[in-house]
């Protein structure tokens, strides 16, 4: 008797797809008026929320399943906004469900109970004299937002915290910040965000503005404009959050002549982008982007052509490309990548890949015995040419493996101890030093310092063509030791190298053996790969 089995059911594929399709929810908050008259009204905060809501709900653009607009006084208190966020948890229950939370409001800064300077959104019931207790902490908003089951979340803050534009600071905070010229020191909330995209209308410490001509918050205006298709830079039919932000960011920057620079922080965004408008057509160019704070201000170049300033992105044709991120003269990232149609690649992830895996170099230098007697009676210090190979991150990340070959040939003179006052003995020599080692590597951007054990084989050949003695003498010995070196990536793949090694060498002369110190040094230029 069977204890189990399959039951055939008749379900249409389209219905099945619809049941499992990711759902998209948006909550848009506009707070134009605050009860405390200290904060002046915002003319377009409600309109900002309504305009963006219209774009998101538009079947031809956003196609969100549910769009909720909160602009009424009772909907825009601290408690009401947090409840609205919590309500999303009951709707967006699956990881691939998509959630967007938008807030257009005053922003401000205040010290919390522990004295830390934090960002606040000025809700309807916020009081300027008691901001920390009455306004909506961006930290707490983020915490609620991050607790949602959805892993595709977008938080858009059309606000600022600079004390100007859409911001007003408590008097004591304003006085404290007045003396700071280098920007605010409070930790941006984005730094603690996880699995979210946070888009801000202005950078931390900058001013977000409304514009009477646009009749919107400037950033919001261009964000809505971008959702109409203008932001789809890779022409794949969908406007994803990063595309929309980059479009709004660029246009805001141009519109304000550089006075407002919207920022974004994106963490743990997987291969699935957050689509704000349109739908993927299955084609389109590939996207290269980065919103990593450490790359801010860097240039993204593709195949030698500057494509964008980071944070931001650029569309490239599918295929293999040489991608570089440069800041000033420094090449922060350099990688060859293969991107397919519609692919999205965070270029900062390339930095985590093993970078150039080594270098080959040609150099010049010299080697010789450390003691004078050996230099006089075996071989003087000799100039040498060298070729070296370095493999980085082998056998571990902090290590490099070296192999090098140093050669020298020429004529020299011996000054023998047992011939006091005698004339020097002329001879020809050939010396080859082949070494290998494993070094611990300390990498500081384009500069790396290495040190570690090394072993070398020293072959020394001497030839004499004298009246009473003609002959060749050959000697092969092992030379363990220690090496230290440095490399400096000066330009692209060009690398300068410096290396010194000290070795112990067992040498037998006239049948008598001794362990002698031996050293070599080279300086060279190489090609990093």
């Amino acid at each position: 008797m069977e204890k189990g089995g399959l039951v055939r059911v008749n379900v249409k594929a389209a219905a099945l797809d619809a049941a499992h399709a990711p759902r998209r929810y948006a909550v848009l908050v506009g707070i134009p008026q605050v009860n405390d008259p200290e904060w002046r009204p915002l003319r377009y905060a409600a309109k900002d929320a309504q305009d963006l809501a219209a774009a998101l709900a538009d079947p031809g653009r956003g196609r969100f399943d549910q769009v909720r607009v909160l602009v009424k006084p009772e909907e825009t208190t601290t408690r009401a906004v947090l409840q609205a966020v919590d309500s999303l948890a009951a709707l967006a229950t699956r990881p691939d469900d998509q959630v967007l939370l938008y807030v257009s409001a005053h922003g401000t800064l205040a010290r919390d109970d522990r004295g830390e300077l934090r960002r606040y959104l000025v809700t309807r019931d916020a009081r300027l004299r008691d901001t920390a207790r009455t306004a909506l902490s961006v930290d707490s908003l983020k915490a609620r937002f991050d607790a949602l089951p959805s892993k595709r979340r977008v938080l858009v803050l059309a606000t600022c915290h600079s004390g100007s534009g859409k911001s007003l600071l408590p008097p004591e905070v304003a006085e404290e910040l007045a003396g700071i010229k280098s920007g605010f020191f409070a930790r941006p909330v984005e730094a603690v965000s996880r699995a979210s995209i946070v888009l801000s209308a202005s950078d931390f410490g900058e001013t977000a503005r409304e514009d009477p001509e646009l009749k919107n918050d400037i950033y919001t205006h261009f964000l809505v404009e971008g959702l109409s298709g203008g932001a789809d830079r890779n022409l794949d039919g969908a406007v994803v959050a990063t595309e929309a932000h980059d479009y709004a960011r660029r246009r805001t920057f141009e519109f304000t002549h550089g006075r407002q620079r919207p920022s974004a922080e994106i963490l743990e965004v997987g291969a699935d982008p957050v689509v704000l408008a349109g739908a993927f057509s299955g084609g389109g160019d590939a996207e290269l982007f980065s919103y990593a704070p450490r790359l801010e201000g860097a240039r993204l170049t593709v195949d030698g052509v500057e494509k964008a300033e980071l944070p931001g992105g650029a569309a490239v044709r599918p295929g293999r490309h040489r991608v570089q991120v440069e800041k000033g003269a420094l090449v922060l990232i350099s990688a060859d990548v293969e991107v397919g149609r519609g692919a999205r690649l965070a270029v900062d992830s390339l930095a985590a890949r093993p970078g150039p895996s080594g270098a080959v170099a040609l150099g010049v230098g010299g080697f010789g015995f450390l003691d004078r007697q050996s230099r006089e009676q075996i071989l003087p210090t000799s100039a040498a040419g060298a070729v070296s190979l370095r493999l980085d991150r082998v056998p571990a990340d902090d290590y490099s493996v070296f192999a090098d070959l140093m050669g020298s040939t020429g004529r020299a003179q011996l000054h023998l101890e047992r011939v006091p006052g005698g004339e020097a003995v002329d001879f020809g020599y050939r010396a080859v030093l082949a070494g290998a080692g494993v070094a611990h590597a300390l990498r500081l951007g384009p500069v790396a310092i290495y040190t570690g054990p090394r072993v070398a084989v020293l072959w020394l050949g001497r030839s004499f063509d004298l009246a009473l003695y003609q002959g060749n003498q050959d000697y092969l010995t092992l030379a363990p030791g220690w090496m230290a070196g440095a490399s400096w990536r000066v330009l692209g793949r060009l690398e300068l190298q410096l290396q010194v090694a000290v070795m112990a060498t067992y040498v037998r002369v006239d049948g008598v053996g001794a362990v002698l110190g031996h050293a070599g040094a080279t300086a060279g230029a190489g090609w990093a790969f």
Binding site: L414, P420, G422, A467, Y506, V515
Partner: protein, 179 residues
């Protein structure tokens, strides 16, 4: 410890400096008398060579280095000159023209046995030179112009010495010694 390190280190072949530490020295002395003449490389252990009929001399495989060479061409002519013997090379001095010889004479006044007394010119082959029978006069030479250390003794014991006796060509320097 050394043995352990040696065992650890592989070594093949060898380097040999010994062949470079000896050389040859050749030359020819003008007016040399084969029977009376000789050439000496002055040192604590002097090395000597003789002439052939033409006055040629040949030092073979002598330790390389700098020497003072005493050339005694005949009973009346001699020469002192510095030479350098190069390792594994034949050093050729060419023709050497001797000068009038110099001599050191010592007149001994003694009540002892003169026959057992001797004179030595250090760093030359003039070692324990005795006086002619019945004579109290000792003659050391011929010598080339230069400076010498001399001593006089009896049996195994020296009882007189004089350092840095510098002679001119043809000079005969005399000393009176009482013992």
């Amino acid at each position: 410890m050394t043995a352990a390190v040696t065992a650890l280190l592989c070594a093949c072949g060898g380097l040999d400096n010994a062949p470079l530490e000896h050389g040859d020295l050749v030359g020819r002395v003008l007016r040399a008398q084969k029977d009376a003449g000789r050439v000496v490389l002055m040192s604590s252990q002097p090395i000597g060579a003789t002439f052939d009929d033409a006055g040629n001399f040949h030092f073979s495989s002598v330790p390389a280095g700098r020497y003072e060479m005493l050339v005694v061409a005949s009973d009346t002519e001699a020469l002192r000159l510095p030479v350098t013997v190069s390792g594994a090379e034949t050093t050729e001095l060419g023709d050497l023209d001797p000068l009038p010889a110099a001599f050191i004479r010592i007149n001994l006044s003694t009540q002892g046995e003169v026959m057992e007394c001797w004179v030595t010119v250090h760093r030359t082959d003039l070692n324990r030179v005795h006086s002619p029978p019945g004579s109290y006069q000792f003659t050391a030479g011929p010598l080339g112009a230069g400076c010498y250390d001399t001593s006089m003794g009896y049996l195994q014991r020296a009882f007189w010495s004089r350092s840095n006796i510098c002679l001119e060509p043809g000079e005969q320097r005399s000393f009176d010694v009482e013992w």
